[in-house]
Amino acid sequence: MKKILDFRIVENRHFNENYSLLVITPADYSTLPRMRPGQFVQVAIPGCGITLRRPISICDVDVEENRLSLLVRKAGKGTTHLISMEKDEIINIVLPLGNGFSIDGIDSDRRIFLIGGGVGAAPLLYLSKALRKKGITPTTLIGARTPADLLMIDEFSRYSDVRTSVESQDAPDHCGLVTQHPILSESFDMIYCCGPAPMMKAVAGIAKERGIECEVSLENMMACGLGACLCCVEKTVRGNVCVCTEGPVFNINQLTW
């Protein structure tokens, strides 16, 4: 069931001037609703001159501590305000929203490949944790512009075998685009991908060519996040469908890319 809840900020971990991890917990101490990897939340950000809520992926859920983490990248007014918020401030959130990645009933011998670009890596952390619980250690490839934008590598390493790809020369691992990383030549059964649209399209192209099943998480502009306004649609083989309810995760077979 979806809820509207006030959350208290437990910690705002600033990685650099553009990225923050907000760790939050329900202000009324109620138990977090069950959330699936790949689902998202709608955050109200008052006091910065914006009107609509902003959709943010669920980056991690800590059931024992009853905490939720959101990885936020400064993109405009709303996110700039959000990453500057302080411990104990309250934010109002509608959650959980969207479908999430399909991992129910996945076999533990499957070779899983997660590919994240920039802040798009966010939902893959919770996904890798869920896969690890199922006895799968996925390979995670994270792409970023600079080494400073490679975030939460330690956390990812807890649940997966991590590779990185950075566009600048001082790359710790591979230098270039994620789609040029040598790990891509290995064989996989399934790819889960989230990042900028051009990156996801390139990954989808590779997956199709090699016959690997692939899911991508889209970031279309949203107003309601509930399937009511029909603003967020993506063209699919079944016509225009709402990304906020039938997505944000889609099997690439469903898309017209």
Partner: protein
């Protein structure tokens, strides 16, 4: 106990709070957050004769204190509504109102004829004012002749309560309101979205695929209040007010200006439970002001 009961052209509502078409889906989308049975009425999304895919993405852009949309009446058509949606939503104890759109008068009439046998639909809202479709829609709503023609045809096809939804994108909304009243509308609702436009200056492209779109949200509220006040003084049928209502205070503002009921649209996106808060606020407000019946405050200005 304060009486919140209002009558809108033969339609009896337990309170004046409705939801605006296109912003509330079929209501079910909000059932986790609110008790749909508490609403005075809810208006389902724009329904057309044939299924429509709507406009290409992007269809939405946030603007100062509001948003532009260019959904373009995406819906699965009236037959799908009757066979798949109506059986589910007819279980709720609020008045259900279908918002009807068409590209021709025949389209409007056929949809009305198909809806007529549905027992739980006691009213339709005729959208003669959608700015997001090329054919029809707003074309009917921007001239007194066009508005009168659609209303006349619908009056013949529809025996139950007939609401005509007016466009603010006209020189004189009062003239349009008078024209639809003369042709037998039971009430008018206003305003639909204001035609607007926004440009992404970095990409040097319009924000919407359709270039222009409909502006809604708090940005349009003063325009809506003015139009409701003007129309309420000019016609004798009830006026339903909407456009930028975000909370209970705003809803009262519309009623003071002459609205007998209100609709909440964009506000549902920001607070999915806003309608319940507005209903509670109305009771509070009346108690604070020593008003026993909310009808006493309608059109005080």
């Amino acid at each position: 106990m304060v009486n919140l009961n209002v009558n809108i052209g033969g339609l009896n509502l337990k309170n004046p709070v409705m939801t605006a078409s296109g912003t509330f889906g079929y209501g079910i989308e909000y059932s986790d957050f609110i008790d749909l049975n508490r609403l005075g009425a809810y208006i389902v999304k724009g329904t057309t004769l044939n299924p429509r895919e709507g406009n290409p993405y992007p269809r939405m852009a946030e603007t100062p204190s509001g948003m532009l949309n260019a959904v373009g009446l995406q819906n699965k058509g009236v037959d799908f509504f009757i066979s798949h949606i109506y059986p589910v939503i007819s279980a709720y104890d609020s008045e259900l109102i279908v918002n009807v759109s068409g590209a021709s008068i025949d389209d409007y009439v056929t949809v009305a004829e198909k809806l007529m046998p549905l027992e739980r639909i006691n009213a339709i809202e005729v959208n003669i004012s959608c700015p997001n479709v090329k054919q029809g829609g707003m074309a009917f709503g921007t001239t007194t002749d066009g508005a009168a023609q659609v209303t006349k045809a619908m009056r013949q096809a529809w025996d139950k309560s007939l609401i005509v939804k007016l466009s603010p994108n006209v020189t004189s909304i009062v003239d349009i309101a008078k024209a639809v009243e003369a042709e037998g509308a039971d009430s008018v609702s206003l305003i639909n979205t204001l035609l607007g436009m926004a440009i992404d200056v970095e990409r040097q492209r319009p924000c919407l695929s359709t270039v222009t779109g409909g502006l809604s949200g708090p940005a349009v509220r003063p325009v809506a209040v003015r139009m409701i006040w003007q129309v309420a003084h000019a016609v004798s049928i009830p006026v339903i007010g909407l456009g930028g209502i975000m909370d209970g205070r705003d809803a009262i503002e519309f009623m003071l200006a002459g609205a007998r009921a209100v609709q909440l649209g964009t506000a549902n996106f920001i607070d999915p439970a806003v309608t319940m808060k507005v209903i509670d606020y109305m009771t509070d407000y009346c108690e604070r002001h020593g008003v026993k019946d909310i009808n006493e405050i309608i059109g005080m200005i």
